[in-house]
């Protein structure tokens, strides 16, 4: 035990592999206070200059300056915050949104300085040395970065701190107005008057004041051996932070590859085949970019902008992966569908965005040829190329009472809509079902012996005996019939309310029909053939 205590400095105990950088590394931290609020405003496109607060587990975790001015502080209970500021708008927390919106800030910073580390959404760190000597001074470097964020993204809340080590730089950013530079070697002196709660450790924050230690300086004055004996390795690490010798170095992130591709058509193109032809090389770059990242696109979003500021966007799916010809096909189909009503002018730009990607390894053809389903997919894609996206369909049985409504036809490659609840659907047909279902209602006439149309009274009763079925020019004798079976659906919705009666009718040729009487109109819903 005694042999392990004689270590020269606690820093070496912590990270023996990085003794050189520690201490000597100047670190610049950018901090955007109340980031969750800013992220919400960015994603919603809303105004951030209003009282806003993000609440997690009934406690305020972030608030806008306007809310702070009304007395809202972080850590407050929601009800208390609302009583201080009745017009406070309470927002749900969304970590994904915070990270997503922070990517824009990172991109903006990376335009000027490479090697940014995300500490958490709203806080990023970078090595200041190179950029500071380029700009002139550390303070100027920080100002340049903050200004670039203001001009690019219009986020004016940023603050910066420069110090030795990440912890001291973060504390400097908290103290910054808007920039605080702690000169080299003075980190310990800067940290000394700060309260121990800045360490962010629940146990130490409550325990140290009770031991008479209120500031980081007081904590740093304790001997490292004593700290380790009392608080263990974790306490020793925090002690190192408090003494201004943060062993951590900035870990620059690897910028994600840019997969989105866009192309501007100059002059604007007015013919679909022109667009498809011009876009081909962009599409190939798009697919090549994905392949280089080891990715296969399984869901694709294509956006077009028109000359008259029209915007047409659609997300396409595929059972396999998109290759370049498939993307060009989708471009053509989307333009064909949009031409006229949604897009009335020439196309000025196009944007391709992979919505969902998968590892390319999952889509590489097998060594011994591909499976049957892969071949089916190729053939069906080819037929889609001939007939258009809606030409090839796969059926799926959904909910509903009407036969045509129950069979959902999904274009090949599209994701079917989420399964409808398997409700019992009272009024649906028993087996056997009609093998022919008319997609469009087929008008027929059911006549009595006297040549009058058969009608159902208000109580759903039938008084006449049907004897003849007239299907277009054809006249068929009715030899058996059953019904009426009333269907009265969506009575709560005046637009979609539908009231009808179903009949089964067998004609003289042995063909059975499923007929529907709605109002005074007869039509065939299906045929049993």
């Amino acid at each position: 035990m005694s042999t392990r205590v004689v270590e020269p400095t606690p820093r070496v105990v912590e990270s023996p592999q990085t003794p050189r950088e520690a201490g000597g590394d100047r670190c610049l931290v950018l901090w955007f206070p109340g980031w969750p609020v800013t992220a919400w405003a960015l994603s919603e496109g809303a105004d951030v200059h209003q009282p806003l607060a993000v609440v997690v587990a009934n406690r305020v975790v972030a608030c806008s300056p306007e809310a702070s001015a009304e007395g809202v502080v972080t850590g407050q209970r929601r009800r208390e915050a609302q009583s201080r500021c009745p017009i406070l708008r309470v927002l749900p927390a969304d970590e994904a949104r915070d990270n997503r919106e922070f990517a824009a800030v990172l991109d903006c910073v990376e335009q000027l300085v490479p090697g940014v580390q995300v500490v958490r959404p709203g806080v990023c760190a970078l090595r200041s040395r190179g950029f500071a000597s380029y700009v002139g001074s550390e303070a100027e470097a920080a100002e340049v970065l903050l200004e670039s964020v203001v001009t690019t993204l219009d986020i004016a809340t940023g603050r910066a701190g420069v110090a030795d080590g990440l912890f001291a730089a973060l504390q400097a950013a908290y103290a910054g107005d808007p920039v605080r530079v702690v000169p080299s070697g003075e980190s310990a002196a800067f940290l000394a008057p700060l309260p121990v709660s800045r360490l962010g450790d629940e146990t130490l924050t409550t325990l140290l004041p009770r031991l008479g230690v209120h500031t980081l300086g007081g904590f740093a004055a304790l001997g490292p051996t004593a700290v380790r004996d009392r608080f263990g390795q974790h306490g020793l690490r925090l002690h190192t932070l408090a003494s201004g010798a943060d062993p951590r170095v900035v870990q620059p992130r690897v910028p994600p590859p840019e997969l989105v591709r866009q192309i501007a058509f100059e002059p604007p193109l007015s013919r679909i085949d022109q667009v498809a032809f011009t876009a081909r090389s962009t599409v190939e770059q798009f697919i090549a970019g994905l392949s280089a990242a080891g990715l296969a696109c399984t869901e694709l979003r294509i956006e077009f902008t028109g000359d008259l500021d029209e915007f047409v966007a659609r997300t396409w799916g595929t059972p396999g992966m998109f290759d370049a010809p498939a993307v060009v096909d989708r471009i053509r189909w989307q333009l064909q569908a949009a031409a006229g009503d949604q897009l009335g002018s020439a196309v000025t730009g196009m944007r391709l965005e992979p919505v969902a990607v998968d590892a390319l390894a999952n889509h590489v053809p097998g060594l011994f040829g591909t499976g049957t389903d892969e071949r089916v997919h190729h053939v069906l894609s080819r037929v889609q190329g001939m007939l258009g996206h809606d030409g090839v369909l796969t059926p799926r049985i959904g909910g509903g009472r009407w036969l045509a409504e129950r069979q959902e036809l999904v274009p090949w490659g599209d994701r079917p809509s989420p399964a409808s609840p398997s409700a019992p659907w009272p009024g649906s047909l028993p087996d056997p079902l009609p093998t022919t279902v008319f997609a469009e209602p087929r008008p027929v006439q059911l006549l009595t012996a006297g040549g009058r149309g058969v009608a159902v009274d208000d109580r759903g009763m039938l008084h006449d005996v049907p004897t003849q079925l007239r299907d277009g020019e054809e006249r068929r004798t009715v030899i058996g019939w059953a019904g009426p079976w009333p269907i009265d659906e969506r009575s709560w919705d005046p637009v979609r309310h539908r009231r009808a009666s179903r009949f089964q009718v067998v004609d003289g040729t042995g063909t059975a029909w499923l007929l529907v009487l709605q109002g005074s109109h007869w039509w065939a819903e299906g045929r049993y053939d």
């Binding site: 090839v392 369909l393 093998t435 058996g480 019939w481 059953a482 042995g510 045929r527």
Partner: protein, 228 residues
């Protein structure tokens, strides 16, 4: 023992066995057909053949059900009013069913493309079928070993399957509901031109094809009284 030691008869026997096994290997096995129709269809749906059918969704679904349940893909071209739910109840696996409802005048090209990968394709020709087109498609069918089920007439079809004497049970004058249909299925093939018939239940109350296993009751005639 060398071949020289064998007697002539033994050698002949051995050669014959080899030839039969090789032939068997060359001749692909037919796709399964409903058990009640196997006898009439010569063992099943022959790969590379075209069958001409009467316009009947129930018959088409019954013929698709066998290969579909076997794990094969099925395609239906040019039948916009195909009842998918009824087909599903008849035993067609909807996950492996592809519909091309409206190919219009491209129906032949679409069918030719589909038979490349889809083993059983049903098609309703759009307009008259030319002999030359049918011959070209037939050679592709033989090449790929796919089966074509044609709704309507087809030049040089392997067999023609017709339905007749349909009789629904379950519905009376104003009461009941459709329960099942008895029907006579008649097959006349190229090999056996004499028509052979079988009386079947198509569809049965559960939507499938079934044999008539009970003595036919003379009831339907009384129930389905002509009233006009």
């Amino acid at each position: 023992m060398t071949d020289a030691d064998l007697s002539k008869g033994e050698l002949l026997e051995r050669l014959r066995a080899q030839v039969t096994s090789r032939e068997a290997r060359l001749r692909p096995s037919p796709y399964p057909a409903p058990a009640e129709l196997v006898g009439l269809l010569d063992g099943g749906l022959k790969p590379g053949a075209a069958y001409s059918l009467d316009t009947s969704g129930a018959l088409l679904s019954a013929l698709l059900a066998g290969p579909s349940a076997d794990g094969h893909w099925c395609g239906v071209v040019g039948v916009p009013e195909f009842g998918a739910e009824a087909a599903g109840h008849a035993g067609v696996v909807l996950d492996r069913l592809v519909l091309v409802p409206d190919p219009a005048d491209q129906w032949l090209a679409v069918t030719a493309a589909l038979v490349e990968a889809v083993p059983v394709v049903a098609v309703r020709p759009y307009g008259r079928v030319r002999e030359a087109d049918a011959a070209r498609l037939a050679s592709r069918l033989r090449d790929r070993g796919s089966v074509l089920l044609v709704d309507g007439a087809w030049p040089r079809a392997e067999a023609r399957v017709t339905l007749g004497e349909a009789c629904w049970s379950g519905v009376g004058p104003g009461h009941g509901y459709l329960n099942s249909r008895e029907v006579t299925v008649t097959v006349s093939s190229r090999r056996l031109p004499a028509a052979r018939s079988v009386r079947l239940v198509l569809p049965s109350p559960d939507g499938r094809l079934a044999p008539i296993d009970r003595p036919v009751v003379a009831e339907p005639a009384a129930v389905l009284r002509a009233v006009g």
